[in-house]
Symmetry: C2
Subunit: 419 residues, 2 copies
């Protein structure tokens, strides 16, 4: 059978299963999640063997150390994945929740009930842990899921998929609720993106290239996450030690992720005394600064920032720095160069804090806290399936609730409409 045919069969099976998955009780879903976790731990030797096949192939193909690192499974890694599934089991089941209910003058009682989205397609790269995480979250939300990981992780993903399906069967859930596309060829993705009658939403997770490919080729709605060019604005009244700590944390703690700070904006009144302290602390940690002309008046050794630096998502120990006149200029800069991901203000000024929260058009806006908190777990969503930087359906970190929608339910006692 050719690949397109098989992808079609997978999508058909997912759609058929989805109404069964939507009606599963919380107890059955949570039992399955526990059995999935147990299965992964029990079969860790098998998983590590399959993972080694991927690693050997990747080494042959000369993948970067960073890529190899993301691809590699370890005993601890597998324990972590299992623990993640057990945590998903502990979350409140969103399906069936009535989020609001009101009464109409004619006596109709109208509510909005949470229901699953249906069939979710996840397209991702490298990290095999996404296979288990995404499957667990989609199942918890009552959805069937089709997983298409990177070709470099094909053995690992197939092995994880098989273990998850076994666990589901034990719990009485049809295994087609979680399906891994077993082909590494790009054709499989292309076919998947055409199945708009069978897949309700596509969530891509990976680099900008993957996401653009998905957006350009999909007939199915895509929840996208482009880059995170996150800003911190240090206001004139910022408490100095707080500004130092937060800037350091946002840049250094994990520079390669989308919620790390990429541009520092600092108020002209505080720049002369505070900027050199921040710069020193960051430079000691190996950060290269690129500054605007006013920055370079204070820090003459800093390289000049060019236009591209303001747009850059470095994902590295590099930081663009700009001195601004006031909060208005800071907000304008963010609006022009930002990616609508995450921005923070450090301030002691009440009105500026409120204004920044209100006017900055990003999915997560913080006052006096590190941009690194823009994350589903950190914000209390219990888990994270991705971060949306477009506004339709979800904006910002997405938890299991964002894998549901609502329908109107109406209790009447004979009402008819007269006009």
């Amino acid at each position: 059978m050719d690949i397109a045919q098989e992808v079609k069969k997978i999508a058909h099976r997912a759609r058929e299963t989805s109404s069964q998955v939507a009606r599963l009780s919380s107890a059955v879903k949570d039992r399955a999640l526990g059995l999935m976790a147990d299965g992964l731990v029990e079969k860790r030797e098998f998983l590590l063997t399959e993972n080694r096949k991927d690693l050997e192939q990747a080494e042959k193909e000369g993948l970067s150390t960073a890529m190899l690192d993301r691809l590699a499974l370890t005993e601890e890694g597998i324990e972590g994945i299992a623990e993640g599934l057990r945590e998903i089991a502990l979350l409140t089941d969103p399906v069936g929740e009535v989020v609001r209910m009101w009464r109409r003058p004619n006596g109709l009682v109208v509510g909005k009930m949470r229901i699953p989205l249906g069939v979710i397609g996840i397209i991702y790269e490298a990290r095999p842990n996404v296979t288990a995480d995404a499957a667990g979250l989609c199942l918890k939300g009552g959805n069937a899921v089709i997983l298409r990981g990177g070709s470099e992780a094909i053995h690992s993903n197939r092995a994880i998929g098989g273990i998850l399906q076994e666990a589901m069967e034990k719990a009485g859930i049809p295994p087609s609720a979680v399906q891994v596309i077993p082909h590494p060829e790009r054709e499989g993705v292309e076919e998947m993106l055409k199945m708009e009658d069978f897949i309700d939403v596509i969530i891509p997770r990976g680099g900008e290239g993957l996401i653009r490919f998905v957006v350009e080729n999909s007939r199915i709605p895509v929840i996208k996450h482009y880059k995170g060019v996150c800003h911190i604005f240090v206001d004139a009244t910022a408490e100095r030690s707080m500004a130092l700590e937060i800037c350091y944390n946002a840049k250094i703690q994990r520079p390669g992720v989308c919620n790390a700070m990429e541009t520092l904006l600092i108020h002209q009144e505080t720049a002369p005394s505070l900027l050199s302290l921040i710069a020193e602390k960051l430079q000691k940690a190996g950060v290269e600064l690129r500054g605007c002309p006013r920055t370079r008046q204070i820090l003459p050794d800093v390289k000049e920032a060019v236009e591209e630096d303001w747009y850059a998502e470095y994902l590295d120990l590099i930081l663009a720095v700009k001195v601004v006149d006031d909060i208005g200029e800071a907000i304008d800069h963010i609006s022009r160069y930002g990616s609508q991901h995450t921005e923070a203000i450090i301030t002691a000024n009440y009105a500026n804090a409120q204004r920044f929260l209100r006017e900055v058009d990003s999915s997560t806006v913080l006052v006096n806290a590190s941009t690194r908190f823009s994350d589903g777990y950190q914000l209390g969503l219990g888990a994270e399936i991705g971060i949306s930087t477009t506004k339709l359906h979800a904006f910002g970190p997405m938890g299991v609730e964002d894998l549901t929608t609502t329908k109107f339910i109406i209790y009447g006692d004979g009402q008819i409409r007269n006009s």
Copy 2:
């Protein structure tokens, strides 16, 4: 200037204006809505003159009476449109509402704040009242809007657009917040659907042909409303007079709309005694019935329903009728042939009412009430911009809240992330 160029300019202006529109105070928006209403009433003679141009052209082209009817403006019609805008002014402003707020163990206070979607494109047919309704709702939600009505209403739409823009200028709102595409050519729509960096969402309103065209040609997310094949299931325990009244209302009160009943499912135990009463009442009102074999045992004169009848959105005085074994068969029938729009059960059985609400996968599910209540005004949303039959972002009747999304706002006091 060619059409594509002008549509591009319109979209660019909308994007530029959108952040200003997002920050407008409720008072300014509501004042503008009032002035829009006043403007339409004051300039009604001009509107009627422009509308007559459209009507004359439409008559020449031999449009159907139904189409002419939808196209025609009257003095009362204009008063109604104005009244609609005044009602939108009375709605609560959704922008800035914090829909939920919680505290994390580390002291961060996390909330979700409602914000506008940005730039909304509305593509619609015939009815010129949509121009004012949609403009008013988008503005209330803090969005810039681009309106592209049908070519047959081009004079009316341009006239309404001009009056709305004048009113906005008086209220201090940039007129590019509401723009009507002044070209009747299809090229304008095609160009609009390519502007994914400038328009955030497209809402088509009209027949299935229009909606399919938009979905197939849009690079921008589309909130779609396909057909409404609405079912009523009369259960074994249905109160007879209630079943009669609701079926009559759902089929007869306005047969040409998407929330009218198209298929009646009736329990085998109640069919022998109740079906002939329902049939008589409907047939007296001119309804043609098409029945399954069991229906025809009870009503031998009824035409036989063929497979296509179960899928049909008649929008007319025709009704498909099927006798079912039980609620399970009713739900299965709806799941197979339905359009996920609106379904109702008439029952006195508590468990069946709850099961129907839970298991029927449609945007609006009612117990003991007419399907005709599936409507934004009727459900208390204050207004309606459309009805979504796909699950992403919104499902079912959409009000002004559905023209917004939420961002995370976070109040900290120096928190940094350690892991």
